[in-house]
């Protein structure tokens, strides 16, 4: 018995229930030897053809080769979506609100928000996957997630886009609120303990006004749309105009690096690439929204 074959055989049988190990090992050895002899092929070639030992062992033991098999996959995806799109934003929002109440500090609140979203999101993903992988390895699982037509979601036709528009309104209102709040409350604390705005105060005698006006315009137009559910021509024109009034100055401010206050920049290092990426991001998202609105209006 050559070492290569023996290594292969050991690699297969150590993943097989102990009771069958010797029998399968013995049969594999003769089979491999028979194949080499019968075809006049090289040992290496024959082993390559037999394939990954892990796969072969799974065939012998009947174990699944997937972490979460097709039986549980739909339930897994449904739960994962629920956790990441509903529970995670709630937890993140609560942690940000608590942090604002505690510290009244924008930098720390943003940090808490991002940190919570990343850590809790990763935890949710990891634990859900572990639990489902374990359930998939318990032999008796007939009752798990038998789908019935009752599980079908209601048709969304009557509320087409309503939720998205609602979220968009909430987001824009939140943005206006944050901009005004950081101006009034001066939530940023410099290393020397003085309070300061996050955004450049000079913006308040200039470019911040079209940004705020654009946001307010977007909110008004989206509220009208939620009420009527129809994109009339004036409404679409208004939406495009408001988006331009909001996005173009904002992208310009960011691109010109006139976005953050000098107090903020003294403590926080902002990479040059951030400005470029953020400016392009604002333009791309806004362009996407406009295209979507135009499409909805036509369709």
């Amino acid at each position: 018995m050559t070492p290569l074959t023996e290594r292969y055989v050991q690699e297969v049988v150590r993943r097989i229930p102990a009771g069958q190990r010797d029998d399968i090992a013995e049969e594999l050895r003769t089979t491999i030897a028979d194949t080499i002899e019968g075809r006049g092929a090289a040992e290496r070639e024959v082993l390559t053809e037999m394939g990954d030992p892990l796969r072969l062992a799974a065939c012998y033991s009947g174990r699944p080769l997937a972490l979460i098999g097709s039986g549980l996959y739909p339930a897994y995806m449904r739960l994962l979506k629920l956790l990441l799109w509903t529970v995670l934003p709630l937890i993140t929002a609560v942690s940000v609100v608590l942090d604002v109440l505690d510290d009244n500090d924008a930098g720390s609140a943003i940090g808490t928000g991002i940190g919570t979203a990343l850590v809790v999101g990763a935890q949710m993903f990891a634990w859900l996957t572990v639990v489902f992988a374990l359930i998939d390895r318990i032999p008796q699982r007939a009752a798990v997630d038998t789908w019935t037509p009752d599980d079908l979601p209601e048709l969304r036709e009557p509320d087409k886009g309503g939720l998205a528009a609602g979220l968009s309104v909430a987001w824009n209102v939140l943005l206006i609120g944050l901009i005004v709040w950081q101006h009034v409350a001066e939530p940023f604390r410099t290393d020397s303990g003085e309070r300061a705005q996050v955004l450049d105060p000079a913006l308040w005698s200039g470019w911040i006004w079209p940004v705020l006006a654009g946001l307010a315009g977007l909110v008004a137009i989206e509220v009208v749309w939620i009420g009527t559910r129809r994109w009339t021509f004036p409404l679409v024109a208004g939406y495009v105009g408001a988006t331009a009034v909001f996005a173009l100055p904002l992208a310009w401010i960011v691109y010109q690096k006139e976005f953050f206050s000098s107090a903020f920049l003294a403590d926080v290092t902002v990479l040059d690439s951030f400005y470029t990426v953020a400016a392009l991001g604002v333009l791309a998202v806004s362009a996407g929204n406009v295209i979507k609105a135009l499409r909805d209006a036509r369709g």
Partner: protein, 111 residues
Amino acid sequence: MSSEELILSQAQELRRGTVVLACLALLREPQYGYALLETLNDAGVTVDGNTLYPLLRRLEKQGLLTSEWNTDESRPRKFYRVSPQGAEVRDGLVREWNDLVASISQLTKEN
């Protein structure tokens, strides 16, 4: 994908389902793994070793095959043969096969 390639891959799907029946038919006489593989491939039922050998184990576990180690020759070999239950299942599958052939030829004749 060209038509030939599509035919080839679909034909492989068709043949895959026949491996169990072919094994149960061939193993009237006791046979060991590699020899069975060669016989099957010669008969046009292409199957890889890493599929066939675990399959034989599974059929044995289901009680359709019995096995015995033969140590008369230079290498000890595990010989499989059909059990009485395996013969019953084989006859049932042969009937299914004949029905299938009949209905498919009926279908293809009409078109």
